[in-house]
Symmetry: C2
Subunit: 235 residues, 2 copies
DNA sequence: GTCCCTTTGTGAACCGGTGCACAAAGCGGG
DNA sequence: CCCGCTTTGTGCACCGGTTCACAAAGGGAC
């Protein structure tokens, strides 16, 4: 899933830590809304669903922002994590592929709130080009390069069919984009220096199925299934 | 061939391996379509975007299904991985929350194809209850327990608003479901034995933003940003 | 059967991440 | 100012997972 995502060196934040910071940030925002001034590592850890030692170690990578005997200042910590994640600036995001999923993403308010702004919706289907979705005009994929440059798009979300994903990825990379969130069920080949994150619904379900099957097996006493190739199989 | 069966397969396939099996399966299906009979670990690894040593070790956890000097039989390996993942049986999935995302998931053909069948769509909003989506009637959330039992639902996809997710999770767990795929941006508290997988769009974007920022910093010569709390901040 | 070539399966070193346990640090009370 | 309580920050042991490198195994040629 994570490719070439840095050897976090300069400031050296471990990848696993980076992946949890958004979780802490969300928990902290909830606390700020409830007007809590400070929070202990224990309480924040519970809210974020991790253990407190891990949380303290994670935060220690950002700096020493806690007060022993007291805890962390909620607002201050929100600011520090936001800054570290780069959410104090505004990121222009383009969504390519305005099918069901693309539409859902465009309308999903959750990420627009924090630092991200959907700057463009693009699609190849003339049927949907021109539609107005979430306050934006759907533009034709031919405009891809122009739109990326003119609007300073730095993150692209791929919600295209699998067959189109690699082609679009090549184009956005050529246009200078180095961060891609891919929803298409394909392994994208990308050059060094381009960060890809992948969200794959079908893989998640398959992992669940594996564990579900295992649980079921355990219940039925773990009867050994046939190991051999069945006589007649046609796939 | 059956000699090693016990040791590797018997107990515990590493979690990291399980997470990659669907990737291999997808690559193999592509090869089967192109009528390839056998494939080497090297070729399959490239297609799946991993290195070949890892792929061989992963497959070795299922058993010894390759032939030295030749490679793996494509169809046979598809069958073995499918069986291991539990895709040879049919899983009934319920989607709770038929907003934009729920609709997108319902219409997403990708996972229906392989072992998964959407058995129900549920929502609390009387406005959408009764709608017909992807060939299914949207039912009222009050029917949750009945539907789960009657249709043998074993996997639930949560696509509800964040505020409703925990409540729905509690109910489906009480109804006997132990596998949940959660799209709501909340940390769910669940009892031991329940498997939760989480997909969080906003977290993925934030991780990308972190790396994007880092890349930008590096280009501009890594100018040190102010570390201090700005004078006037109101969030 | 023997030799050579290819490719698997795996022992072992290595690496990043986790969790424990505790010393250091801050705060409030007397 | 000192004491005792709380909570952070971290050294260290541990663990799962990755990667390397190679012996073992199979196939084909002759």
């Amino acid at each position: 899933m994570i490719r070439r995502l840095s050897q976090a060196r300069e400031r050296g934040i471990p990848e696993a830590t980076v992946a949890r910071l958004p979780l802490y940030l969300r928990a902290l925002n909830g606390m700020a809304e409830r007007a809590l001034a400070t929070v202990s590592s224990e309480d924040l850890a519970v809210a974020a669903g991790v253990n407190s030692a891990k949380l303290r170690k994670d935060l220690s990578h950002l700096g020493s922002y806690g007060t022993r005997g007291v805890g962390y200042d909620v607002e201050y910590l929100i600011y520090q994590i936001s800054r570290e994640l780069g959410l104090t600036q505004d990121w222009a995001v383009a969504i390519v592929g305005v099918g069901n999923l693309g539409r859902a993403l465009a309308n999903y308010g959750g990420f627009v709130s924090r630092g991200f702004r959907i700057a463009a919706l693009l699609d190849a289907d003339p049927e949907v080009v021109g539609d107005r979705i979430a306050g934006l005009n759907v533009e034709h994929i031919d405009e891809l390069e122009t739109v990326i440059e003119r609007r300073g798009v730095s993150i692209v979300v791929l919600a295209t069919p699998a067959a189109a994903a690699q082609r679009v990825a090549d184009r956005v990379i050529a246009a200078g984009v180095t961060s891609i969130l891919n929803f298409a069920p394909v392994v994208l080949a990308v050059p060094e220096g381009v960060d890809i994150r992948k969200v794959d619904l079908s893989i998640e379900l398959q992992i669940l199925a594996f564990h579900e099957q295992r649980k079921a097996d355990r219940m039925t006493g773990g009867t050994a299934m046939a190991e051999e190739w069945p006589e007649a199989v046609d796939l």
